[in-house]
């Protein structure tokens, strides 16, 4: 999605055809665009997505028409097959983050293809099927619209995870409006900028520092490296979600926000709510709540919460490092749950500082393929040796101070607070400045795209 071809060719052609199609045929156009995006990457990628769509549609149909028991059985089959697709195809091609890569020295030929969006359409299919079975809302009669929702192409890279009931109205009447279009373009351009101007350079910092021998790094450079990795992941994911939101808005769909200043959270539980919040809500509604009905809250709260957490972590990858990271999260969440009364008495800023230290301290668990390397790196972070820094710490301060400053400003709440307060003071100035900023960022993003470096991309 982040390419010259997508921004300068696919987007205008898609928007022109979509606008000309009229409300009635827009879902068809949207679906065709999705088929093109997935198929362009690999035609084999269409197999699991079609399977997921058909299962979702059929399950809803069976839930409506068939006896409850048969519908339940079909729902179980739908969930099972979607989970299988999620586990097998999510992040395929990356050896140590997908199951096929874990099980075989080299992925089997079929798994060597890139299956875009397995982490998203499977969740759409499951939530839709489950909601219809639970009679939360009426099923969608149109196969095209069901397919549009399950395979909602703007979200396929990294979400956000959508709920059918929240975009049903927009699917029925996709209206292109000036306000939505302008907001969408803004979100799209911000997404490209975050990806290319912030996430990619920060990933370079991480790659440069983490490729050194840990023994050569100082305490300070390890923390700089962990911060770069953390911010790179955040802006990478957020960029794709902003691009998805932008595309959705341009096509007339109201899209949810997926991030809400997560690093300002006062604890890990809150962090999960703020970081990929739509994934958090999905895990809460379809894993935690079914496991932990309100009546049994005290006894089963913790296991259910941990199960939902593990799912959320594994969603990012199947490899061993993610399991270890999941275990780390479970430990922290258990501690938070046990000492919740004590923690609520603590100042929010203090809790947030602790949370960030722990988060950064544990993050290397996901960053290295070897657990021993992760442990060495973490040990160095907390060894407090070389407090005065080294050549690498100096490198970060000298070359990347400005980028860190901007990234931290936008990752934490201050930027949002300043923007909101400024908006309240004089919204017209903001509206005048926005098109100028948007144009500058579009031109800068194009410059970065032209000098594209594939190794600088995470997703």
């Amino acid at each position: 999605m982040v390419s010259i071809g997508f921004l300068y060719f696919f987007l205008p052609v898609f928007m022109a055809l979509y606008a000309l199609a009229g409300q009635k045929y827009r879902p068809v156009m949207f679906l065709l665009a999705g088929v093109f995006v997935v198929g362009w990457d690999s035609v084999y990628g269409l197999i699991p997505i079609v399977l997921s769509i058909v299962l979702g549609y059929m399950s809803a149909l069976v839930s409506e028409k068939a006896p409850r028991k048969a519908a339940g059985a079909f729902l179980a089959l739908t969930v099972l097959l979607n989970v299988a697709a999620l586990v097998l195809f999510s992040y395929s091609r990356y050896y140590d983050t997908d199951l096929s890569g874990r099980l075989t020295t080299h992925p089997l030929p079929f798994f060597d293809y890139h299956f875009i969006g397995a982490g998203v359409y499977t969740l759409h299919s499951i939530s839709y099927s489950a909601d219809i079975f639970m009679k939360k809302y009426e099923r969608e009669k149109s196969f095209i619209k069901t397919a549009c929702y399950i395979g909602f192409f703007p979200c396929l890279i990294c979400g956000p995870i959508l709920r059918y009931d929240r975009i049903r109205e927009d699917l029925a009447h996709p209206v292109i409006s000036y306000d939505k279009m302008a907001d969408g373009i803004r979100s799209l351009v911000y997404g490209f900028s975050q990806k290319l101007i912030i996430a990619s350079p920060l990933l370079t910092v991480w790659q440069r520092l983490s490729s050194q021998k840990t023994a050569d790094l100082s305490f300070a450079s390890c923390w700089f490296a962990a911060a770069a990795f953390s911010l790179a992941i955040y802006f990478d994911l957020k960029a794709y979600c902003d691009i998805a939101k932008g595309l959705g808005l341009m096509a007339g769909f109201n899209m949810p926000d997926n991030f809400s200043a997560p690093f300002s959270a006062g604890g890990f539980n809150e962090l999960m709510k703020r970081f990929c919040s739509t994934l958090y809500e999905w895990a809460r509604d379809y894993i935690y709540r079914p496991l932990c009905p309100k009546s049994e809250k005290e006894s089963i709260y913790l296991p259910a919460m941990l199960a939902a957490t593990v799912f959320g972590i594994i969603w990012f990858g199947i490899g061993g490092r993610y399991f270890v990271w999941g275990l780390f999260f479970m430990l922290i969440l258990t501690f938070e749950y046990i000492s919740r009364k004590l923690l609520t008495k603590m100042n929010h800023v203090l809790r947030s500082v602790f949370m960030n230290i722990l988060f950064l301290g544990g993050l290397p668990l996901t960053a290295f393929s070897s657990p021993a390397d992760s442990v060495r790196f973490i040990a160095k972070m907390f060894s407090f040796s070389g407090l005065t820094g080294d050549v690498y710490a100096l490198y970060v301060v000298k070359n990347y101070f400005f980028l860190y400053f901007i990234a931290i400003l936008f990752a934490f709440a201050p930027a949002r607070l300043v923007r909101t307060n400024f908006n309240r003071l004089n919204p017209n100035i903001v509206r005048i400045v926005q098109p100028i900023v948007q144009t500058i960022l579009l031109l800068l993003s194009t410059a970065f795209l032209c000098a594209w470096q594939p190794e600088g991309f995470m997703f």
């Binding site: 205008p12 000036y178 306000d179 350079p201 017209n428 098109p435 000098a451």
Partner: protein, 368 residues
């Protein structure tokens, strides 16, 4: 007001997008049809078409270099922008292949009694390693060259190029915008090489310097469009007395061209002006007859760096055969198809140490 500004936002965005997209199609219309007519993955072909014909490519790269390279001091595409020069660094080095090439040369040496010398030159990243920041990953070329020389067997001599070049690094020995040495750099290399081979090199005073082109921008500049870097000049060393070249024959596939000079000024009108030296790497083999009466014949197995140096060798040898192993292998030939090694007085294998680790063509020494 909100609606008007939204309209401006939308119009501005789509104007830029459509303008650039349409320009791509108009300016690249000739190669556009190739996407559908030629064989291959249509996705790859389309992306290549878009990336190669997208308008203002140089300006976008320049903007990126200005914003990212200048602010962060980082390498871009492994190119570091020093104050007044661009240096391509090599964070990774294929040692296995380099050692395997040394092994093939050793095997070749066992098949002939003719003395063989291996010359591995450092690139600018090796000579200017101490002007690179510590955080830039770069192969230690001196260590690599020494370890490769250490593995050379009986019958293969080594010629040190690192320190002779390092000692004159403040001279104009490497281009500012290209990863190749200048003719002056090549002269210093020649001077040292002849000394180490036991011959007397000609002094610089024997040459007239022709300032052939003073607006050369090398491949590093084109990759980054780094505006703070001055253009290079291509200078040709010409003997003060008569030309030492009688005839130059260049061969490629079934094509042969004959010339009276090793300098091909037609390159100044082409895409790479540095191809003025022996047409760059465009030809598989060159046969050069000189006016020298030394009776010596040289077989030069060459990498890219050797092109610039050849002109200095001319007065020392009556006949020089130059073979490009990569092109020879691409033509499906071996060395014995184009030259009889035992008919020469010396065999010189000359590469820069990076290209030496990348070529897989030294199996041309093996007979079919």
């Amino acid at each position: 007001m909100k609606r008007s500004l939204n309209l401006i936002s939308i119009a501005g965005f789509f104007t830029i997008i459509i303008m650039l997209a349409v320009s791509t199609l108009i300016f690249g219309r000739d190669s556009f049809s190739e996407i559908f007519s030629s064989k291959g993955d249509i996705r790859v072909k389309t992306e290549t078409f878009i990336n190669s014909t997208f308008p203002l490519d140089g300006n976008w790269r320049s903007l990126h270099t200005m914003i990212y390279g200048a602010v962060t001091g980082e390498t871009i595409n492994d190119i570091f922008s020093d104050e007044d020069r661009l240096i391509r660094v090599y964070p990774r080095y294929d040692k296995d292949r380099a050692f395997s090439n040394v092994g093939l040369i050793n095997n070749f040496a066992r098949t002939t009694d003719i003395p063989i010398s291996l010359v591995l030159a450092p690139t600018a990243a090796g000579v200017y390693h101490d002007s690179l920041p510590d955080y830039i990953e770069n192969t230690d070329q001196l260590e690599i060259i020494n370890s490769l020389y250490y593995k050379l067997g009986k019958g293969v001599g080594s010629i040190d190029m690192f320190y002779p070049l390092y000692s004159v690094k403040d001279d104009y020995i490497f281009y500012r915008t290209s990863d190749c040495w200048t003719s002056l750099g090549a002269y210093y290399a020649y001077e040292e090489m002849m000394r180490q081979l036991g011959a007397q090199p000609f002094d610089l005073s024997n040459y007239d310097l022709e300032y052939a082109d003073d607006s050369y921008y090398g491949e590093l500049y084109h990759e980054l469009r780094y505006m703070s870097c001055d253009e290079d000049s291509i200078n040709l060393f010409r003997p003060k007395l008569d030309s030492t070249v009688s005839e130059v024959k260049l061969y490629r596939d079934n094509e042969e061209i004959i010339a009276r000079s090793v300098y091909f000024k037609s390159a100044f009108a082409g895409t790479n002006k540095n191809d003025v030296y022996l047409h760059g790497d465009d030809y598989t083999r060159a046969e050069i007859d000189t006016t020298s009466e030394s009776g010596l014949r040289l077989l030069l197995i060459k990498g890219h760096y050797a092109n610039t140096l050849v002109s200095f060798l001319l007065p020392h040898y009556e006949h020089i055969t130059i073979v490009d192993p990569d092109r020879l292998k691409a033509e499906g030939k071996t060395l014995s198809d184009v030259a009889e090694p035992d008919s020469y007085n010396r065999i010189l294998i000359m590469y820069d140490c990076v290209q030496f680790s990348r070529t897989d063509s030294f199996d041309i020494f093996n007979d079919k």
